[in-house]
């Protein structure tokens, strides 16, 4: 593998990179949705809700 190379088409490597790309999109959308769903509840839990603060 030493020496300069021009990238050649390799379906297995493309699948490898595709899996990472797919995971990135899923995590972006998934964690974004989770943040909206449970974010406020988690914030209250960690920081303490208004009632706790008083």
């Amino acid at each position: 593998m030493a020496g300069l190379e021009i990238p050649t088409w390799d379906p297995e490597t493309a699948l490898l990179i595709g899996v990472i790309l797919f995971e990135a999109f899923v995590l972006y959308a998934g964690y974004g949705g989770l943040e909206r769903l449970v974010g406020p509840y988690l914030m209250d839990l960690v920081v303490g809700g208004d009632a706790d603060a008083r």
Binding site: A2, P7, T13, I17, V19, I20, V46, V47, G48
Partner: protein
Amino acid sequence: MLGSLLGALGGLGVLDTSPEMLALFVGFGLVVGVLFGFFGMGGSFLVTPALLMLDYEASVAVGSGMAFVFGTAVIATLKHHDLGQVDYKLGVIMITGTTIGIEVGRASVYYLESIGLAGALISVSYVVLLGGVGAMVTRDALNGEGGGIDHEAADKPLSEYDIPETAKTIQRTVRIPPMVRLRGDVRVSVWVITAVAFATGLLSGFLGVGGGFIRMPAMIYAIGVPVPVAVGTDLFEIVFSGGIGSYLYGQGGGVDLGIVVPLLFGSALGARVGSAATAVVDADGIKVYFGGMLLVGAVAVGVGEVGSVVGSPALETAGLVLVIGAAVVVAAAILYTSVVSLRTTREREAVTAD
């Protein structure tokens, strides 16, 4: 569907990793993600050295580190795209220089591996790099000049940015055609952009890092790009450099999905937490710890390498514990400060309401 996906992941090596290592990678990814989300850099500084200390081959450590950077950059670019902070023209121009730089760096790794010097030389490079950047960030933080992304400056409108003097000088003196106009009304030679891209690509290909800590200042001070556009475009650029680099390393068996998938799983969550923390924590107070963490990282890589040379597993373990420990301490400091700051704000609001 799920069965075929699991089958594909199994075929690519994800399911070969032990549950303990998966948990370690998810946890380490979480910590690295918090640091990346908060400071805007440092996402990959610690991954490749940690993998080297875990006795992975140099090409696997660098290749998997680069694939991790690629995934992280995809997620961060999606966010910056939503904020309108990506200059796609600049990013596309940089791709050629970056690609050649990466290929030269990658070829160097495989050549050094063939003569048995890759691990040692990459470790030494990391000691110099982590030490140098760590000393710079610590010095700037102690002088009150910050380091990493200036979160307040990054919120200004693009029209309010002044072009640094060095960038103005380069724009006046290097006028080799073709010239291009970029966002923020910057006019610069394509060759300046290509030179910056090649240098950072070389670093990426050799060390498996995104190169943002060099590319971002280079975009700001050599090309004259406004800070938020430099951040967004840098990430867009890393998507390509990381993608191409991962592909090249992947062809040589250098990308291990058993490392990359759990690291990314943890870091994507950590980056959200770190990014949210920037809204409630004064970054200047913590940057000194970030600088200290990089310095500890430099020492840790050095200790690990000495352990490897003299054949002392204890020293290698000490190096690994130092690298992970330093990152955990700084990430914990960010989280703790965020929670304390949020609680203080809530209490103040409650008192005002009463």
